[in-house]
Symmetry: C2
Subunit: 344 residues, 2 copies
């Protein structure tokens, strides 16, 4: 499957496609708009729209199925999917890199992309606060004190390829060249030596979500912004809460950032003792305006649902929203499909 | 650019996106529906639909831009494109394989995909008639007599990757394992040893189009059908013409098949002395019905244009066409955008 996400144990393919799920390896396998070949959709009036082909190339008119990918069930119900599946990788490996400064993330990404090229399958970012939280709540195996000393943030790099010895050589060469550079972008790097360590490194990243829920009540923002602004978005949000006198153990305990660097997708989480109107008001529309100022997306992959319909205009202009409403009106004139979702 | 096609010297990006161009490396880089990140479109009433984001992930409502990809300018004019560009490969190589039987193409494709995995960038098919035609008209450098003896068809395999020595090792190992198998799928394989040979092997494949135009007047069908039926489609078309008494030097000189195996895309060309109503009637709707019987596409990448509007129903059912018309009607109620194209 060209899709891998935390919910893989419980999600369903119809839901994945309806929400245009992205996940951990979009960087490598691309979006569902590219990998879904065909759909069968039941329209609101009961008609079956049969676009369930398995053709990789088909230029016979408008690609209607695309409208249902990410429409969250508001235009029709997806009842069949054909999807392109790449060859499964023969070997995977990963390494966690500790960076002295956030500013190094972008040059590091460029270097890694150039050196690993087609075998790069994930490039994930964890800021120091998120890392410490994951470790505090027993996610993955902590790096040594020495390895994390002076680290402002971490990057998890994964490779997936067809030949283990080639892939390991590439990853080893990368690590060597990073450590031996005149002005190293990283303090240190820890490479997985076996499957258990591979999982353990991933757990540091994937475990952040669970650590957050153990730590407190979370306000979660799943945004797309330029990579160079990841830290700024986290810092400005923290500052905002501090300026409102909300940053303390009794109210907001932590503001963290982590996510899919390769996709420009930042998970900005604000962890509070409890959900309160004061925190809510401090965060919104502040965060949305911040995202809009970078021409970002207020919902990179989690969708609009019912909770973000009021925030849609921060990422879509009036013309686009008007056209979305026209599309909704012709497919579902009676508004019976998932009412209240996506559009108010 | 995640797109490479014969017309690269003259085509324009707006046209590429409007026609959803596929080309030679779709196998590797996927379709424009996946790689186009944003579009700016001028709608028929002069409104600018600004979906020109550069975000890899953006799940804020319907992905309207997708409608314009492949709409052939019938819904709006594309005036801006943002597109995801992969790292350029550091090394490319190719090999041409001679196969004793067409039946070996599918098992060969599976073997090649498994062994070359992420560095496979093209897998192109040329039947014997197409190969002979290319050679006859001076396209590329012909293989030796010995190499082509007993070959029913040829496959051109290209690799593109980040490390020359790794990629060559993979390609050498593939060739060795193919030649040393107990029941070899190929008679022989010729690997490019330098850039000139690399271009020369490609010219055998890319030059077929030019060879066809030098040989006579061509009826060209650009279809998607299951790979296992490529030969059947060519043979049945040839038989059809023979049964109508049209297969002779004075009428139809050759029926050839070549194309992008990895994408299920067959170029079926019928080369005639002159265009005649008899040949036209023998071919249509025969070819379209043949395609429809395999649930294929009557236009894999060349689009519908004005010439194939009558054939749309062979690849799209009534419901789909009705919905295409509804979409056309809301975007372009006065029918001023590229009239007569896509929909009659």
């Amino acid at each position: 499957m060209p899709l891998d996400l935390g919910a893989k144990g419980s999600c369903q393919i119809g839901g994945n496609v309806s929400t245009n799920a992205g996940g951990l390896r979009l960087l490598r396998y691309g979006s569902l708009h590219g990998s879904v070949l065909g759909l069968e959709v039941v329209l609101p009036d009961g008609t079956i729209l049969d676009q369930l082909t398995t053709l990789r190339k088909d230029n016979t008119g408008y690609d209607l199925k695309q409208l249902f990918i990410g429409a969250e069930g508001t235009l029709g119900i997806i009842t069949g999917v054909s999807i392109l599946t790449p060859p499964a990788p023969q070997a995977s490996n990963n390494v966690i890199l500790a960076l002295p400064r956030f500013e190094n993330v972008l040059p590091l990404y460029k270097t890694v992309k150039r050196q690993l090229s087609e075998i790069l399958s994930a490039f994930e970012f964890i800021d120091r606060t998120a890392y410490d939280l994951a470790v505090k709540h027993g996610q993955g195996r902590a790096l040594s004190e020495e390895d994390v000393e002076g680290a402002e943030c971490f990057v998890l790099v994964e490779t997936s390829g067809g030949r283990r010895e080639h892939d390991e050589e590439k990853l080893n060469n990368l690590l060597e060249s990073l450590l031996e550079a005149d002005e190293p972008l990283i303090n240190t790097g820890v490479m997985a030596q076996n499957p258990a360590q591979f999982s353990s490194l991933w757990a540091l990243r994937e475990g952040v979500t669970e650590a957050v829920s153990k730590e407190g009540k979370a306000y979660k923002y799943d945004i797309s912004v330029p990579l160079s602004t990841f830290k700024e978005c986290v810092d400005l949000t923290r500052e905002r809460l501090r300026s409102k006198g909300l940053l303390n153990e009794a109210q907001v305990k932590a503001v963290i950032g982590y996510g899919h660097v390769g996709d420009g997708n930042l998970h900005l989480n604000v962890i509070a003792k409890a959900y309160t109107p004061e925190i809510q008001d401090a965060l919104e529309p502040f965060v949305y305006e911040l995202v809009a100022s970078h021409r970002g997306s207020v919902s990179a992959e989690h969708g609009i649902g019912a909770m973000k319909t009021h925030a849609l205009h921060y990422s879509k202009d009036e013309t686009s929203i008007a056209w979305m409403k026209k599309i909704k009106a012709i497919f579902d004139p009676n508004g019976i499909m998932n009412p209240g979702k996506v559009l108010e």
